[in-house]
Amino acid sequence: MVEKARRERIEAGERGNPTPQWEVFLREEPGDPLRHVGSIAAGSESEAHEHASRLFGWYAVDVWLCPADAVGRYSTRGLGEAERSDDDGDGTDADDGDSGDGEDDGDGEPRVYKETAGVSEVNSL
């Protein structure tokens, strides 16, 4: 898979913790393409629209909102593990010694990644 695409899937599942995130798309003028302008935190679609209108209402003719966790994001330039195999699992903490109290919970670095970020697709490439 990676040979073909070189893109990694970016997990969005918990990005909206604690408040749901909404991706915001604007159309500046009629006929223009929609442009992604970031994301906002809001508890509901109507709240998201209100929030986006405060931020961009002075600017855009159209506003589209999409729950962030409904967007499939694939990037060639993520923070994925594949790019950093040089220092994975090399026990870097040994130099510092002091992180021992936190390192004894058995979480090797890659597993922390999988468990906390939930982005195993990226990891498994």
Binding site: I10, E11, G13, E14, R15, N17, P18, T19, Q21, L26, E28, R35, V37, G38, S39, I40, A41, A42, H51, R54, L55, F56, W58, Y59, A60, R73, S75, R77, G78, L79, G80, E81, E83, R84, D87, D88, T92, D93, D95, D96, G97, D98, S99, D101, G102, E103, D105, D107, E109, P110, V112, Y113, T116, A117, G118
Partner: protein
């Protein structure tokens, strides 16, 4: 970030080339001839925290939040910052010390040429941790203490938090780490202001950072607990007075104001009152070079999940995510109309800000507070405490000549 001690007590020791805001971890706040071009990046390395502070802008929690960077991701992220030329990375949270790899990451940032500094509640800073952080290259530790014991502990949601923070401070000082105290003022803890300053003098701290409350995170729920603008003015005046008093006594305390650039204008007025017009003009000129409120330009925030925000307090809006594209690309993308508007906000400010003579050293102060209270991004900051007669007329910089 405005250094009272620099502007009022140390003006002759001119800035020697480094950035002003970016000098957060430097031995002296310094002022450059040019505006800082790259942002200081606050990184909320985790959302976890062992405390539950009532004003937390990050909405930190006791529970782990999925989505935090792994060590490896964090290193790639730090590389992005270094490649972009960010001068400083401020490890924040949550409580950054709950990350087991903090020391490793601080060391990596230092290795990359980023100046690593820390914002912490101090309660987890053992002597061993402080020593390891120092050895890893940490340049500065800012410890939050929001009042004397009773009020601080109530604020922070845990008995004993004050004592633990003070122990953390002592450990930092013991190992020779430059250490400062961060105090966010609210109605609840305002009476403790002088006590907190006394504490830092007694402990031999290097720096006092006075934070205004911004209206993001849990802070938004306590807008009503903010001081009134008039009370805020009195507090800033007291901080300025205390700074002068301590310097007169030979105490080399660095005093910084954060979060309300009405303070910049106030300091010009204060300098005029205390030292005369020439000093007021000099203070103005320095502050103009400093560039006013840094939101979206000289300060950036990246949260635990990689979302980039215009400041650390503005968690409700993200410009993009560093898991999708590198930080520098997001930060430089002025096709984002909000980002470009923020960067030219002097032309967009309305109300009393539009014609304020201090516009170029304040830049409307907090756009987030304006947004939170009025719904209008370019309305005046409700926490502007300047008097009408102070805001009218020509600016008092050297080019405009003496107004008095």
């Amino acid at each position: 970030m405005i250094s009272i001690s620099k502007l009022l007590c140390d003006l002759d020791a001119e800035g020697d080339g480094l950035r002003y805001d970016a000098a957060d971890g430097s031995s002296k706040p310094q002022i450059t001839e040019e505006k800082q071009r790259r942002p200081v990046v606050v990184w909320n390395a985790t959302r976890r925290c062992n405390l539950y502070c009532s004003h937390c802008y990050a909405g930190a929690d006791l529970e782990a939040a999925p989505g935090e960077f792994s060590t490896s991701e964090a290193k790639t992220f730090l590389e992005q910052l270094a490649e972009f030329g960010a001068p400083v990375v401020l490890f924040s949270g949550g409580e950054p010390l709950v990350r087991d790899d903090l020391i490793e990451l601080v060391g990596y940032a230092a290795e990359l040429g980023l100046r690593p500094v820390l914002s912490s509640n101090g309660t987890l800073l053992t002597r061993e941790k402080a020593e390891a952080l120092d050895e890893a290259g940490l340049q500065y530790a800012g410890i939050s203490v929001d009042g004397l014991p009773d009020r601080n502990d109530e604020f922070r949601g845990e008995d004993g938090a004050f004592e633990a923070a003070v122990r953390g401070i002592e450990h930092c000082l013991d190992v020779g780490l430059k250490t400062g105290l961060r105090y966010t003022i609210t109605e609840a803890n305002a009476p403790d202001l002088e006590g907190v300053v006394d504490l830092l003098v007694e402990k031999g701290l290097d720096r006092f950072c006075f934070y205004h409350l911004d209206y993001g995170g849990r802070g938004a729920e306590i807008v009503d607990a903010d001081l009134s603008p008039r009370e805020k003015r009195a507090a800033i005046e007291r901080v300025a007075d205390l700074t002068l008093e301590y310097h007169d006594r030979g105490e080399e305390i660095e005093t910084l104001l954060v979060g309300n650039y009405a303070d910049a204008a106030f300091l010009v007025e204060y300098a005029r009152e205390e030292f005369g017009e020439a000093k007021a003009r000099a203070v103005y000129d320095y502050l103009e070079r400093n560039g006013g409120d840094p939101t979206g330009e000289r300060i950036a925030d990246v949260d635990y999940a990689g979302n980039v925000h215009p400041t650390q307090f503005w968690q409700g809006y993200s410009l993009g995510n560093v898991r999708d594209r590198p930080f520098g690309e997001i930060w430089d993308d002025e096709s984002n109309p909000l980002l470009s508007a923020l960067r030219e906000r002097e032309d967009r400010l309305t109300g009393k800000c539009a014609d304020c003579r201090y516009k170029s050293i304040c830049r409307g102060a907090s756009r987030l507070r304006a947004l939170a209270t009025t719904g209008d991004l370019f309305a005046p900051d409700p926490q502007c405490y300047l008097r009408d007669e102070e805001t009218r007329g020509e600016h008092p910089g050297s080019a405009a000549g003496a107004a008095d």
